[in-house]
């Protein structure tokens, strides 16, 4: 399922080719979309790494949708890996269950242990700068260490 996407990403020569893709999974479509917008904006806008929100259920309710997650992951997969950031509960468990299955998410998709908003900003900034998946994941996780008081 991911093979064609890899080809698309590498062969397309688009701006995002070769960069790590970011998927933001929230219980709420609004939260996922707003955090994606925030992260893109703080990354300087313009030519950022590919970011897709996967929020809520397909019907527009609160919850987690495996289909929306898989769709978003395929959309941002340019062959350099996909970092999935999640909010809580079923978002965490659904991504873990999809990764355990294999074949449902692109090769190189990874659940990143990070705070949702801060981690998303760190991930998009580093991925946009051309960092690899390990570096993107580390930057997002490191956001946990920033204390606010």
């Amino acid at each position: 399922m991911s093979a064609g996407r890899d080809d698309d990403g590498r062969g397309g020569g688009g701006m995002s080719a070769g960069r790590v893709g970011i998927v933001l999974v929230s219980h709420s479509a609004g939260v996922a979309a707003a955090v994606a917008e925030l992260a893109r904006g703080l990354a300087g806008g313009g030519d950022t790494a590919p970011v897709r929100p996967a929020g809520g259920t397909p019907g527009g309710g609160l919850g987690t949708s495996a289909e929306l997650i898989a769709e978003a992951a395929r959309a941002v997969d340019g062959g350099a890996g996909v970092a999935l950031l999640v909010d809580l509960g079923s978002a965490v468990l659904t991504v873990k269950a999809l990764l355990a299955e294999g074949g449902e998410l692109p090769e190189g998709a990874r659940l990143v242990d990070a705070p949702f908003v801060e981690g998303a900003v760190a991930a998009v900034v580093t991925a946009s700068a051309g960092a690899g998946l390990d570096e993107v994941a580390a930057a997002a996780s490191e956001a946990y260490t920033y204390r606010k008081e």
């Binding site: 309710g61 987690t64 495996a66 079923s90 468990l93 873990k96 269950a97 299955e101």
Partner: protein, 219 residues
Amino acid sequence: MTETAGTYGTEFFVRWLEAVAEAVEREADRLTELDAAIGDADHGANLRRGFTAVRKALEEEPPTAPGAVLVAAGKQLISTVGGASGPLYGTLLRRAGKALGDDPQVTRERFAGALGEGVEAVSRLGGAAPGDKTMLDALGPGVEGLKVSFSAGRDRAGEGAAGTVPLRARKGRASYLGERSAGHEDPGAASSALLFAALAATARAEAADGTRTDGEGAA
């Protein structure tokens, strides 16, 4: 009757999941009420959506082995439930299905072992342990009982679910409530008990109605 005595084929597992779907349909309001007390009041609706999808998938593409039935059902639950019970029940059934492999007939003991592997996978996925007031408090005893008999599985799972009432939740949304989560039955444990009750009912119907299978079990 084409099944070897004491073994269960594809049809049995399909009937079991249909029985679960019916039980979930019947009990959806109760599950949602339990969830309203300590969760977000969607457990009944979520499971109903999930098991309706399971039924449809099993009808449209009938699997050819018990393990394949469980894997297909698990996949549907992960895709369609929309809450934490989706990946948790999905992992339970999928792992159990994988443990059964392609065998066309399995014994109760073998199924209990496979379900036990599923329970371990659920525990790893959710990071919960027995006593945390989760579905594991019914699933674990249910599997132990199933090693003895179908009815023991039903009874132990039911006792396990009832035993979650005084517990304080340590996982999931209910854990935010702290002490206030005590005094309510855990909705996940309650739905887990339904799985074992449906299993015992399916086995009883099979035993009582053995001549009716007309070779259905031959798959």
